[in-house]
């Protein structure tokens, strides 16, 4: 049962990107998730974004924990190194991978069980360290792979397929991330690819921990009436408060930045994030305001989405650490080992 590899259909006029690859080159094994699973739409958006961002797959690392969500990396960029670790511990693996290879694009995919239950501590501390990575939380309010128990993101009153009603306060990763000083906090919906694409791209361009909470319905265990993470519920209550455009670096000069009313944030790598419509209520550079408004709107029943908060001025883990620019893996051994003379001198101090 090795992963089913999709046959590459060669098409004469198939579109290639700036690094000469087709969209298909950004795909991975065939999905084994349930037909209609939100996670597969997230995969599709990731594939599309990486294609459009011209990422060379082998210059990326994709990591995940365990769960249906944890399978996502298998389904994208087959030419990137992947690591499907243990449940809830992807943030630590990603921190280590990024510590070693600061030059590669680091992509983490997780689930709400993976990040908010067993992995909550790691998730929070990765935010705190501002590890330079894209962190996608495929949020469906249940443990999909273990058959539908409520996860920590299940809302009070949400009904399970068996009819149980959740009585526990949810852990809202957005409120959490904002409280922890996250520098990039976005929220989206697997059912809205157009919305997801610029968010993913902006997240990849961000210098630091870029968090995307993506409502990604579980069709098998949490898509019924009474669920607050179903397609229907999400669609009905969808409220995009801070949608963005992403203007890649190369397009920057030509980018149409005339609409002065919009907030434009230059990203670390030279690309731009343009907030399409930020109401008077929403200031994506004010974490406190975002926290308050988000909470308020959510309590009123809205499924709030957008690039809710962005701060591009901070240092990522390496910036704070003061690590050399050369990825540590590539620093020559001679620059790491002090050699025999230094040792001999040092030995004199232990007498």
């Amino acid at each position: 049962m090795s992963p089913t590899v999709k046959p590459k259909v060669l098409h004469p006029d198939i579109e290639t990107n700036a690094v000469g690859l087709t969209r298909r080159d950004y795909e991975g094994a065939m999905s084994t998730l349930c037909a209609g699973c939100g996670h597969d739409s997230v995969t599709a958006a990731l594939v599309q974004s990486f294609f459009e961002l011209n990422i060379e797959p082998h210059r990326a690392m994709k990591l995940s924990g365990i769960g249906c969500s944890g399978k996502t990396p298998t389904y994208l960029m087959q030419d990137a190194h992947g690591f499907n670790g243990v449940h809830g511990r992807m943030p630590a693996l990603a921190t280590g991978a990024n510590a070693a290879r600061s030059d590669l694009v680091c992509i983490g995919v997780s689930g709400d069980g993976d990040s908010l239950s067993i992995g909550l501590g790691q998730f929070c501390h990765a935010i705190r360290r501002n590890v330079n990575m894209l962190y996608v939380l495929e949020n469906n309010g249940v443990y999909g792979l273990t058959k539908g128990q409520f996860s920590a993101s299940a809302d009070v009153g949400s009904k399970s397929k068996r009819g149980d009603v959740n009585t526990q306060e949810p852990i809202d990763p957005i409120l959490l991330a904002l409280s922890l000083g996250a520098t990039f906090v976005g929220r989206s919906f697997s059912g809205d690819k157009a919305h997801l694409l610029p968010l993913i791209k902006a997240a990849v361009s961000h210098n630091g921990f870029a968090f995307l909470d993506v409502i990604s319905p579980c069709v098998t265990f949490n898509n019924h009436e009474g669920s607050t993470k179903s397609y229907l519920y999400t669609r009905e209550r969808y409220m995009d408060v801070a949608p963005v455009d992403f203007v890649p670096m190369k397009d920057e000069i030509t980018a149409d930045v005339e609409e002065g009313a919009l907030t434009i944030v230059p990203m670390h790598d030279g690309s731009l994030v343009r907030f399409k419509q930020v109401g008077p209520d929403w200031d994506p550079t004010d974490a406190a305001a975002a926290w308050t408004r988000y909470r308020e709107l959510s309590r009123d029943g809205a499924v709030v989405t957008g690039l809710l908060y962005l701060s591009e001025s901070g240092d990522d883990y390496h910036g704070r650490n003061g690590t050399v620019d050369t990825p540590l893996v590539e620093v020559p051994f001679e620059e790491l080992c002090p050699g025999s003379e230094a040792l001999s001198n040092l030995m004199d101090r232990y007498r």
């Binding site: 243990v86 070693a100 790491l336």
Partner: protein, 613 residues
């Protein structure tokens, strides 16, 4: 019996009062006199105000194991003076602060009491309260110097070195030393029969602790990522790594760091960081102790199954559970070999002293990358935190890391297709690739079932192929991990087997036993899976004693399971009360076991050895 350069003394103080500098001053001074010396710090799991002892053994013959018999006890702590007085050997001495009189009932007729008014001297000569406390402790070093005939010039030189950047402190330290020294010279018959005499036996030696040595090994091995969560007694390993990196790994121009140290939120995360970094191609390690290994268990299994190089330093402390965090033990031997659920088996190195900590740290990274698996370096609190005398470390500038089988961009370019877990060479080791190198190198690492191609599998045969190879791979490392140290003696039919920090006590005991006519060959295990020489040694000896510091005889168990030791002929000697092993424990254990085997007519009296039920 003249006891020149052959005695032990201990100093009881209160922790957090600066006594540790006085103690290391004394130890170092003896060392600089060319006399072999060893020190054991017996400290509480607390920051300030509780009893702490420093034990110093002087041995012209070069024995560095702990001895539980003290000729002199410096009883500076009123809270423990009763215990201290009771503990000194008959005919020994108590040095104490007689600023206040000693209760009569504490006196012992068979012991010499040497009272020095340290408190009063402090009050008379120093002003600040804190200074008085600190200087009181330096003064006892002065008194000891007089009593043991220490070279005062050596001491003064050390004070000058130590305070070279704070010259103001030199004078007060001089004074404090002098106060104790003069008082002792004046009031006692100095030196005592236990005394020092300059030798030349420490010329090529250093005094260093195992954690510092291991950290240095990590620096020299080229480790770039260190992750940790503080835990006694491993904390000083990362402290030392940080300091060494500050010195040796900082870009002289930019100040940039050629290393990344992640103080993780817990041990699970520390393990994850190491494994993530190892997967990405860095040499990465984490220092921890028993509770940390328990917490890392799940991740260790992942590294084993997904074959990720990773190095774990386990500086053991007394278990189980939180146990006694400031006492030593060798209680994680079985755990190191088999940590994590399911069928696993790990490569383990067992250093016996700081020098081996240094060497084995380097070796650990080579083995981890060669065998693509977690490697454990298992020392203990005694080795890790106490200063040991050992030979200066050397470095071969020709050393280059053994990265094992890692495919380069060129190699990947030249092959048709790469599959992660194919055993091309038949040695159980498949070539790995690193991210960022070449598109053809991509593979998916996972802890779930996978086949030789690296694909996910739930197929029996595919699964079996991989786990069987893993077993062959790790077993295949046996002769490359670390050969045991073997010492044979004419006429020996029995052997003594041990590991790690029991070494010094074991060697001393073997010598002493030989003098009694009990001749033993000696083997010290240094690695797991066991080198074939271990099984050979076992097979060649009718009976073996297995010496270790844990309740359940874990090394013995492992020898039975993995080196074909015959349970009938390997006899356990265990001491696990939290102190380092001493020769007395070994001799006592050997005699007890010989008695049990019918080889001795009577067993030893008042056995020191703990008998597990």
């Amino acid at each position: 019996m003249s006891q020149i350069n052959d005695f032990a003394f201990k100093i009881g103080t209160v922790n957090g009062t600066g006594s540790s500098s006085a103690n290391s001053l004394i130890m170092q001074a003896i060392f600089r006199m060319g006399i072999p010396v060893s020190g054991k710090n017996v400290f509480p799991s607390n920051i300030q105000g509780l009893p702490t002892w420093y034990e110093i053994r002087v041995s012209g013959a070069g024995h560095t194991a702990r001895t539980p018999i003290f000729d002199l006890i410096v009883a500076m702590n009123r809270a423990t003076i009763e215990k201290d007085i009771a503990e000194v050997r008959s005919g020994g001495w108590i040095l104490y602060d007689n600023s206040w009189p000693l209760e009569d009932e504490l006196l012992r007729a068979d012991v010499g009491f040497l009272g020095v008014p340290f408190g009063r001297l402090g009050v008379e000569n120093f002003k600040a309260v804190r200074e008085r406390v600190l200087m009181k402790n330096i003064s006892y070093a002065g008194a000891i110097a007089a009593l043991l005939d220490m070279d005062t010039e050596v001491i003064q030189q050390m004070i000058r070195e130590k305070f070279s950047r704070k010259p103001a402190l030199i004078d007060s330290n001089y004074l404090a030393i002098k106060l104790g020294y003069d008082y002792a010279q004046e009031h006692f018959d100095c030196p005592l029969p236990i005394r020092l005499e300059t030798l030349d036996k420490t010329g090529d030696q250093i005094l260093i602790d195992g954690n510092t040595a291991a950290a240095l090994g990590c620096v020299y091995a080229g480790a770039t990522v260190g992750a940790w969560y503080p835990i006694t007694p491993s904390t000083s390993l990362m402290d030392a790594f940080t300091a060494f990196c500050g010195r040796y790994r900082t870009d002289p121009e930019t100040g940039d760091k050629r290393y990344a140290i992640v103080q993780a939120e817990d041990e699970l995360a520390a393990a994850g960081v190491v494994i993530g970094a190892g997967w990405a191609g860095a040499r990465a390690f984490t220092p921890t102790s028993g509770p940390g290994i328990s917490l890392m268990s799940e991740f260790i299994g992942l590294a084993y199954y997904a074959e990720i190089p990773s190095v774990f330093f386990n500086v053991q402390r007394t278990g189980p559970s939180t146990g006694m965090p400031t006492r030593t033990q060798q209680g994680d031997i079985m755990l190191s070999a088999y940590a994590s659920h399911g069928d696993t088996k790990h490569i383990v190195l067992f250093p016996a002293d700081p020098r081996e900590c240094f060497e084995m740290a380097v070796k650990a990274f080579d083995l981890a990358e060669r065998y693509q698996t977690p490697v454990f370096v298992v020392s203990d609190l005694d080795i890790g935190m106490n200063d040991w005398m050992c030979r200066r470390f050397e470095w071969d500038d020709d050393y280059r890391p053994d990265r094992g089988k890692v495919l380069t961009a060129e190699e990947l370019e030249s092959i048709d297709r790469y599959f992660r877990y194919v055993d091309v060479d038949g040695d159980g080791i498949a070539a790995r690739t690193l991210p960022g190198v070449h598109p053809k190198g991509a593979y998916f690492a996972r802890g779930s079932g996978h086949n030789r191609l690296g694909g996910y599998t739930e197929d029996s045969d595919e699964y079996l192929e991989v786990v069987n190879r893993l077993r062959a791979k790790v077993d295949g490392a046996a002769d490359r991990v670390a050969a045991p140290v073997v010492e044979t003696r004419e006429g020996a039919t029995m052997g003594l087997i041990t590991l790690g920090g029991c070494d010094a006590a074991a060697r001393e005991a073997v010598e002493l036993l030989a003098a009694r006519g009990i001749v033993l060959d000696y083997l010290r295990v240094r690695g797991f899976p066991f080198h074939s020489a271990v099984a050979t040694f076992l097979a060649e000896h009718e009976q073996c004693f297995v010496l270790e510091q844990n309740r359940d005889g874990q090394l013995r168990s492992l020898l039975i399971l993995e080196a074909a030791a015959d349970p009938e002929t390997v006899h356990s000697i265990r001491y696990y009360g939290g102190f380092p092993m001493s020769a007395a424990h070994v001799i006592d254990g050997v005699m007890t076991q010989r008695f049990k085997q019918g080889l001795e007519p009577v067993g030893p009296e008042g056995s020191l050895v703990e008998e597990g039920a």
